[in-house]
C-alpha cells in the first residue's frame, strides 16, 4: 500500500509538472511568435515605405494656383508648406501673429526712413503663408498709394499676367505693374473668378508637368539675363541654362532680392547689370539718377534697400562652396524611405540638425554659437553705423538751421545717400550678416565712414551770414 501510494503520488505530480511545462512552453512559443510576427509586420511596413513616391490623383496645370490642389498629389511637401503659418523667431528675426514694429528695437529706423512709407509701418517677418495677407494689411499699402507691381512677389500671379497680357506673360506683367494695387488685386477672369487669391505657392517654382524647378517671375528672368550679360554670357535663359543646383537658389532669388519700380509704369526691375555688390547696384542707380524718395529731414535723394538676401548670399562662403538657399532653408529630410525637401521654409537655426549638421559635424550648441558670434558682431556694427547716421542727420539739420542750403550741403547730402544705402542694405537683409559675414562688415564699415564724412562735411558747410538782432 505504502509503496503504491508512493508510486501514485509521483505519477500525479509528474502529470501536473508535464502540464505546467506544456503551458509554459506554449506561452513562451506564443510570445516569441507574436514578437517575430510584429517584427515581420514592421519590416513589411518599412519595405512599403520605399515604394510609391507619389500618385497623381488630380491634374495640376499652369493655372492651378491653389497649393491645396497640388497637395493631393504631393501631401508631404504640402504639409511642410502649410507649416509656414506657424509663428517662429530667432534672435534677430521673425515674429508672432502680430509681429512687432522693427523700430521698437531699432528706433533709428524711423529717422532713417523719414518721409517714406517704411517710417509708418515696418514689422518683423512672418512665414510664406502670410505674405499676401500681410501685404494687404500693412499701412504702407492701406495708407499710401501703391502700384500693382507689389503683387509680383506676394501673390501667385502668373495666371493673372497671362490673362491681362492675352497669353503674353511679359506684357501682362507690365500692365499689372502699372495698375493701382487695389485694382490689380481685384482682377477677375472672363467668368468673374478672382485671379489673385493665393500667396506664392507650388506653381511659382515648379513645372506642373514635370515638377522640375523653374523660374516664373519676369523681374528675375530679365534681371539674371542682364547680370549674366555683364559677366560675359549672352542670351542667358535661366530656365534653359541653369543647373539643378543653381535653380535651388534661383527660385528663391525670384523675390528675395533688391529691386525697384522702373519709370511711370512701375515695372519691377532688378538692378543687376553692373553686378550684385552693394556699390555695383549703387552705380546702377546713380547712373540713371534714380531716387526712391527725398529724405524728410535732410532733403537728400536717398535709396531704399529692399531685402537683398540673394545678393548678400552671393558674396558669402556658402555660395562660394556651391551651397544653395534650399540646402539650408529647405534641407532634405527623410519621411519613411523618401528623401524630400522640407517645404517648411524657415531659418536654418530652427532646424540645425538637418540644415547644418549634414555638412558641419558639430553639436547643435556649437553651430548655434558660431551663428550667434557672426550675428551679434554684425548687429553691434550695425548699431554703430546707425549711431553715425543719426549724428550725420543731426549735423545736417543743424547746418540747415544755421542757414546752409542744398548747394552748401551738396557734399553732405551725397554722403547721406551713400551711408544710408549701405546701412539699409545690411539692416533690410534677413540674415543679420550670416549670409556673408565679411561682406556685411565691409558694407557697414563703409556706412560708418560715409556717415562720419557726411557729418564733417555738414559741419564744414558754409553757413549763411548770421542775422544778429542787435546789428
Amino acid at each position: 500500500m505504502a509503496e503504491e501510494q508512493k508510486e501514485s503520488k509521483p505519477a500525479g505530480e509528474s502529470k501536473k509538472r508535464k502540464t505546467a511545462v506544456f503551458l509554459v512552453l506554449v506561452v513562451i512559443t506564443a510570445a516569441v511568435s507574436a514578437l517575430v510576427t510584429a517584427l515581420l509586420v514592421n519590416i513589411f511596413e518599412r519595405k512599403q515605405e520605399a515604394k510609391n513616391p507619389y500618385l497623381r490623383v488630380v491634374d495640376v496645370t499652369e493655372d492651378t494656383v491653389d497649393p491645396a490642389v497640388w497637395g493631393s498629389n504631393w501631401p508631404r511637401q504640402h504639409d511642410g508648406y502649410k507649416q509656414t503659418v506657424q509663428a517662429s523667431s530667432t534672435n534677430f528675426g521673425g515674429g508672432d501673429a502680430h509681429p512687432a514694429e522693427k523700430a521698437e528695437k531699432e528706433p533709428w529706423l524711423t529717422r532713417m526712413f523719414a518721409g517714406y512709407a517704411f517710417a509708418i509701418d515696418y514689422r518683423d517677418r512672418r512665414g510664406h503663408a502670410h505674405m499676401l495677407f500681410d501685404q494687404e494689411q500693412t499701412r504702407r499699402v492701406t495708407e499710401k498709394p501703391q502700384p500693382g507691381a507689389c503683387l509680383h512677389c506676394h501673390a501667385s500671379i502668373i495666371p493673372a499676367y497671362r490673362f491681362v497680357g492675352k497669353g503674353d506673360v511679359m506684357k501682362g506683367f507690365e500692365e499689372v505693374c502699372a495698375m493701382p494695387y487695389q485694382k490689380a488685386h481685384e482682377l477677375v477672369d472672363d467668368k468673374g473668378n478672382k485671379l489673385i487669391s493665393h500667396p506664392v505657392g507650388c506653381v511659382d517654382c515648379h513645372d506642373p508637368k514635370t515638377m522640375e524647378l523653374r523660374v516664373t517671375r519676369p523681374g528675375f528672368l530679365v534681371g539674371i539675363k542682364s547680370l549674366k550679360e555683364h559677366q560675359g554670357t549672352k542670351d542667358y535663359d535661366v530656365n534653359r541654362d541653369a543647373t539643378r543646383q543653381e535653380m535651388r537658389s534661383f527660385v528663391c532669388g525670384q523675390c528675395h532680392v533688391e529691386y525697384y519700380f522702373k519709370g511711370d509704369r512701375k515695372t519691377v526691375t532688378y538692378p543687376w547689370s553692373n553686378g550684385l555688390k552693394v556699390e555695383e547696384i549703387e552705380k546702377y542707380y546713380d547712373d540713371m539718377g534714380f531716387t526712391d524718395w527725398k529724405h524728410k529731414e535732410t532733403g537728400a535723394p536717398v535709396l531704399k534697400a529692399q531685402h537683398p538676401e540673394f545678393e548678400m548670399w552671393n558674396q558669402g562662403i556658402h555660395a562660394r562652396s556651391g551651397v544653395s538657399c534650399a540646402d539650408c532653408h529647405m534641407p532634405y529630410k527623410r519621411e519613411g524611405a523618401l528623401k524630400i525637401s522640407d517645404h517648411w521654409v524657415r531659418s536654418p537655426l530652427l532646424n540645425k540638425s538637418r540644415a547644418c549638421q549634414q555638412c558641419h559635424h558639430y553639436p547643435e550648441e556649437e553651430i548655434q554659437a558660431r551663428a550667434d558670434v557672426i550675428q551679434e558682431r554684425t548687429h553691434a556694427l550695425m548699431r554703430r553705423s546707425a549711431a553715425a547716421l543719426v549724428d550725420m542727420l543731426d549735423a545736417i539739420n543743424d547746418a540747415r538751421k544755421a542757414g546752409a542750403g542744398d548747394e552748401q550741403l551738396k557734399a553732405a547730402l551725397a554722403f547721406h545717400r551713400k551711408a544710408q544705402w549701405r546701412l539699409d542694405f545690411v539692416a533690410a537683409e534677413n540674415s543679420m550678416g550670416f549670409h556673408a559675414p565679411q561682406e556685411a562688415a565691409r558694407i557697414l564699415a563703409e556706412a560708418v565712414d560715409y556717415a562720419r564724412q557726411g557729418q564733417i562735411a555738414a559741419k564744414a558747410a558754409p553757413r549763411a551770414p548770421a542775422t544778429q538782432p542787435g546789428k
Binding site: 502529470k15 506544456f22 512552453l25 506554449v26
Partner: protein, 155 residues
Amino acid sequence: MRVLSARKLVALVAIALGTGLGVGLFTFTYARGLSYFSTDPRACINCHIMNDEYDSWGKASHHAAAGCVDCHLPRDTIPKYIAKAENGYRHSRGFTFQDFHEPIQIKPKNSRILQNNCLKCHGDLMHDIVEGSTTDVTSVTCVHCHASVGHGPTR
C-alpha cells in the same frame, strides 16, 4: 484534470516550436538576413536610412577601391563580428523604433575603426605623419580633412 500523454505533448511542443521557427525563418529571409553576412555594399541599404551614404559613396574616389565594410569594419575576424553585432543591434533597434538622430552620425568607436582602416592601406606612406596622432585626445582623423574621399556630395 485531463492530462496529455507524453507523446501528444511532444507533438504539440514540436508544432509550437516549428511554428515559431517557421515564422522566424521566413522573417529572417524576408528581411534578407543572410545578406548581412556578405560584403556586398547593397546590404547596407536593405533598409533605406543609408541611401544617401550609398549614393555618395558611388560619387567618391574610393568607390573603385573599397566597399562599405573595407572602411567601416575591422579586418580581423573576431573584432569584425563584434563590431557587426554591436552596430547590427543598434541599427535594428533604431530602425524598428525610429528613434535615432538624423542626420546619422558616426560613433566614436566606429570612427576609430575607420581611421585604422585608412592606415591599413595608406599606413606605409603616412606612418611618419600619423604617429600617435590617431590615439591622442586631440587627434585629428584622416577624414577630418579628406572628408569627401569616402562619400562625395549628397545634394
